[in-house]
Assembly symmetry: C2
Homo-oligomer: 201 residues x 2
């Protein structure tokens, strides 16, 4: 607890180094992936000596985990526009924005280049997926109540149908992901839901 009170000194240098290292780690993740990320490479890019990294972070995994730590800063509010169409569009757009931002791209790079089971990365994944999905489910529930979607529409299935095309392009094909992708994903999920293809089993 209160780490501020008994170590009030030397915050300037430390903070600068930490930020530089975080930025360097994210950049290396995006450029080379986790497998090819070396501690010396990060140190060099951050303009810092290797030993300094090992004094502040336990190992390579901690380094990456910490750089990805506060994904909560990227967390977006859940829309409630009164229309399922614009709600879904908004959800898709913020997903695209998140995953094309540097931190999102670094998270993807980490998760899909060998760091999937690193504790910190797995936690970041949970934060971005599970939590976000759970928080978005009321959007679907409200649409069902308003009669915009068929009774029995599965919120989880609909949200997965919304996100799947975006991730498919990000991970499998390598097609550009932009607002048009979000738009089409929203329309696709909406059409399927209206047709009753996303009902609870």
């Amino acid at each position: 607890m209160d780490s501020e009170s008994h170590r009030p000194r030397q915050v300037g240098r430390g903070a600068k180094v930490r930020d530089a290292v975080h930025a360097a780690t994210l950049a290396e993740l995006v450029e080379k992936g986790y497998a090819a990320l070396t501690v010396e490479g990060v140190a060099l890019r951050a303009g810092v000596h290797k030993t300094t990294l090992y004094r502040r972070w336990a190992d390579r995994e901690s380094l990456v985990a910490d750089a990805l730590a506060d994904l909560s800063a990227m967390d977006v509010p859940i829309p409630d526009t009164g229309s399922i169409e614009s709600d879904l569009r908004e959800l898709a757009r913020s997903l695209v924005r998140m995953m094309t931002a540097p931190k999102g791209r670094a998270l993807l790079a980490a998760m899909f280049s060998g760091a999937a089971d690193v504790p910190g990365v797995a936690e970041a994944r949970r934060q971005v997926f599970d939590d976000r999905f759970r928080r978005a489910e009321p959007v679907v529930a409200r649409a069902v109540e308003r009669g915009e979607l068929p009774e029995g529409t599965d919120p989880s299935e609909l949200l997965k149908a919304l996100a799947a095309p975006v991730y498919f392009r990000l991970l499998v094909t390598g097609d550009p992901v932009d607002e048009i992708t979000a738009e089409r994903a929203a329309l696709l999920a909406l059409a399927a839901a209206r047709a009753g293809a996303l009902r609870r089993r």
Copy 2:
């Protein structure tokens, strides 16, 4: 060229070793991923000495690439049942079968744990995705001609909509992927296409 004629001897031992090493490589890929795959680990599992691997394969990358080489054996015929619904169902089912089979799981593990840019792996990916997608496009074209789908439906978009939920579960969530997944993916893609959400822009 004719490698059979001037090296007719010693095929028995070599073939046995090759098969054992291939199997061991695929197993290690699935269990640990590419990043954590060690040559000594493969050698140990295959019951073979490390040096033997380095004499038959140039390096770790070649080892993995060769183990994944003949994905053509997994290639499935393109359905033409006369109905887009059963065609899509069949496509989704064979996709699920392919990706839950040992070789498919190993391919996924290789592609998404650090070996994405290894030449042989990239080629296998191309073979499984691009080629297969291109070959499946006539299925959609025929359905449009039959009037089952709206004019202007984009074959590529429809096939991506079909595959996306499957890969989403395989790669992002870790939900089980089975016939039900295939069924739902087919219904989802079909509903979206019928609603005109997958038209060419």
